[in-house]
Symmetry: C2
Subunit: 195 residues, 2 copies
C-alpha cells in the first residue's frame, strides 16, 4: 500500500497515535488492513449486553454512549464519546467476558472498527504498538478514575457544576436525561439543581 492510498478517514487516527509514538508505514498499513470503516445511523446499537465485546472503534465523526441497565431496568450512562476518541465497553473488551454494557450511537457516525483478534495480532507483530496501547489505556483509565472519584467525592450539585465547567459542549449534544444518569442523579433532581 502506498502512503497516498491511506484512506482519508484514517488521518485523524494516525495523528492521535503518532503523538504518542512514531507510527511506521508498515504499522499504518497494518492498521488499515486490519480494520474497516463503518457508517451507522443515530441510535444504532453497536453492542448488546450479554454479547462478547470484540470490537474497538475509533470515532471519525459522530457520537456514542455506553450504558448498562440497573436492577430496576433503568439505563445508566457511563461514557459519552465523540470525534477522535476510542469507543469500547472496556470491561467486556479487556476480559473477554460477556458484556454488561450496551453501546449506542447518539448521532449518525463514521467509525473505524478493529476486531480484538486483529488488534492482538498487531500487538504481537509491532511491539512498539504496545507503547501506544499502554499510553491510551493509561489515558482512559485516568478519565475513568476521575469520573469515579467525582461520583464518590462530590454531591449531586457539585457533580453537575463540575461537568458544566469541564465539558460544557456535552450539554449541546446530549439530552439532560442522559446527563442525569451519567451523573448518577435522577432526572428530576437534575432539573431541580439547574434552577
Amino acid at each position: 500500500m502506498l502512503k497516498e492510498d491511506y484512506p482519508e478517514a484514517y488521518q485523524n487516527l494516525f495523528a492521535v497515535f503518532n503523538v504518542i509514538h512514531l507510527l511506521s508505514d508498515e504499522l499504518k498499513a497494518a492498521i488499515v488492513n486490519n480494520s474497516h470503516l463503518v457508517n451507522v445511523k443515530r441510535k444504532t446499537i453497536l453492542l448488546n449486553a450479554g454479547e462478547s465485546s470484540n470490537t474497538i472503534y475509533f470515532i471519525v465523526s459522530g457520537a456514542a454512549r455506553v450504558y448498562y441497565l440497573n436492577k430496576d431496568g433503568k439505563q445508566t450512562n457511563t461514557w459519552f464519546l465523540f470525534e477522535n476518541e476510542l469507543l469500547i465497553s472496556v470491561y467486556g473488551f479487556f476480559t473477554a467476558q460477556p458484556s454488561f454494557e450496551y453501546i449506542e450511537t447518539l448521532e449518525d457516525s463514521v467509525l473505524i472498527a478493529v476486531k480484538r483478534e486483529k488488534l492482538d495480532e498487531m500487538y504481537l507483530q509491532f511491539m512498539e504498538f504496545n507503547f501506544i496501547g499502554r499510553k491510551l489505556t493509561e489515558y482512559y483509565y485516568i478519565r475513568n478514575e476521575i469520573q469515579a472519584n467525582d461520583l464518590r467525592m462530590l454531591s449531586a450539585k457539585e457533580r453537575y457544576g463540575q461537568l458544566l465547567k469541564r465539558s460544557p459542549q456535552l450539554f449541546q449534544r446530549v439530552s439532560l436525561g442522559h446527563i442525569a444518569s451519567y451523573l448518577g442523579i435522577s432526572q428530576e433532581t437534575l432539573s431541580r439543581i439547574r434552577k
Copy 2:
C-alpha cells in the same frame, strides 16, 4: 549480572511479569538495576497528598492502602493492596500531577521500588516491556472499574455482601473502619449492616 544473582525478592515479580510476556535476561537485569528494595514498618506513609507520585512499588510482602481526604477531612480508602500486587497512586503516577492521594502501609512490608524515570527508560529500551505494562494497566483498570461500578450500582448492604463474597480474606487483615470507607459507607452503617 548472572542469573543466579537475581535477588530472591525479585522472583515473585519476575513470575508475575513472565506470565504476561517472556522476560529476557537483559530485561530482568534492567529491572533489578533500575529498582531498589525497601523495608518499611507498618503505618509508614509512602506518598503524601500534594507530592509528586513518582515511584511504583511491587509488594513482596506486607499490605498497604491508598486513600484521600474528603472535604470534611475524613479519610476515604480507594485501594487495599497485598503481596504480588503493584502499589501506586494511579492518578498522580500517570499524569505527573501532584497527588490527591496518600499511600500508607498497613503492615510491615518489603517493597520493590521503581522511579518513574527509570520505568520510562525501560519502556523505551525494551519495547516488549510495553506489552507487560499494557496488560497490567488493563488489569488494574478493570479492577478499578469493577469497584467503581459496585459503588454506582449497588446499595450499601449489597456492596458489603459482594466484598465479603469476593475478598473474605480482606476482613482478616483490614479493620472495619477502613473497609467501611472503602465501601463508601459510614462506620456506623457498616456496623448495622453486619448485624
